[in-house]
């Protein structure tokens, strides 16, 4: 089903806002993870991990889910399709992968915040976990930057399914919307 222009623009705006918001929130999260790891003041370190939990649940998780849902609506409701172009397919993969990984990793982030609420996090306290949170944030930021670049560049290339649909559309114009 092809969306009417006004609805397509509305969902596109929502998708861009959610996706770019997700990217920005992850950048802030990375800054907090870096500060939490390196800052000498234990109080600021504790504050960083407490804020990370809030930012995670109240900004990053909603933005990731909104980005995924609006992206699905955008692709299925326009002629781009979900499986026709490699760049759309790869973006879907990045989005699903990052969302699942984020949800899985919110548990240790919550535990880190719980620890920060009850104890001083100085020196190498929970060092491994803090390093992992930093690495996860850096990896997520890289993946989201790649997704953003794919959205802007829209590199050419049809998947085998896209080629099939494209050749079917040449013989039967009604197949274009399928």
């Amino acid at each position: 089903m092809i969306l009417p222009p006004w609805l397509r623009k509305l969902t596109l705006t929502a998708h861009v806002a959610a996706s770019v918001g997700w990217l920005g929130a992850v950048a802030a999260f990375l800054a907090l993870a870096l500060g939490g790891l390196l800052h000498p003041d234990p109080q600021r370190v504790r504050a960083a991990y407490l804020v990370m939990d809030w930012v995670g649940w109240w900004v990053i998780v909603p933005a990731s889910v909104a980005s995924l849902l609006t992206g699905l609506v955008q692709s299925l409701g326009t002629r781009w399709g979900l499986f026709r172009h490699y760049w759309v397919l790869i973006k879907l993969g990045i989005n699903v992968f990052c969302t699942v990984l984020l949800l899985v990793h919110m548990q240790p982030i919550g535990q880190m915040a719980q620890a920060a609420a009850h104890m001083e996090l100085s020196g190498d306290t929970l060092w491994d976990l803090r390093i992992q949170i930093l690495l996860d944030a850096a990896a997520a930021l890289l993946a989201l930057l790649v997704a953003t670049a794919l959205s802007v560049i829209k590199p050419q290339g049809l998947t085998p399914y896209g080629l099939k649909v494209s050749s079917a559309a040449r013989t039967d114009p009604a197949a274009r919307s399928r």
Binding site: Y86, I90, V104, H105, Q107, P108, Q111, Q114, A115, A117, H118, M119, T125, L126, D128, L129, I131, Q132, L135, D136, A139, L142, P155, Q156, G157, L158, P160, L163, S166
Partner: protein
């Protein structure tokens, strides 16, 4: 007529992704970090 072959950028992307995924997985395991999620602390949040 579209080229039925997989575009070069997709192949390059797949290769780079594979390398980064392996690197990330290795770092994860080496750090004993989130491979066993939640095993770092007691349920109260205190370290074991």
């Amino acid at each position: 007529m579209a080229d039925p072959a997989t575009p070069r950028w997709v192949k390059a992307f797949a290769l780079v992704t594979l390398v980064l995924a392996l690197l990330f997985g290795a770092l994860h395991l080496a750090g004993r970090g989130l491979g066993n999620h939640g095993a770092h602390m007691t349920p109260t949040g205190a370290p074991p």
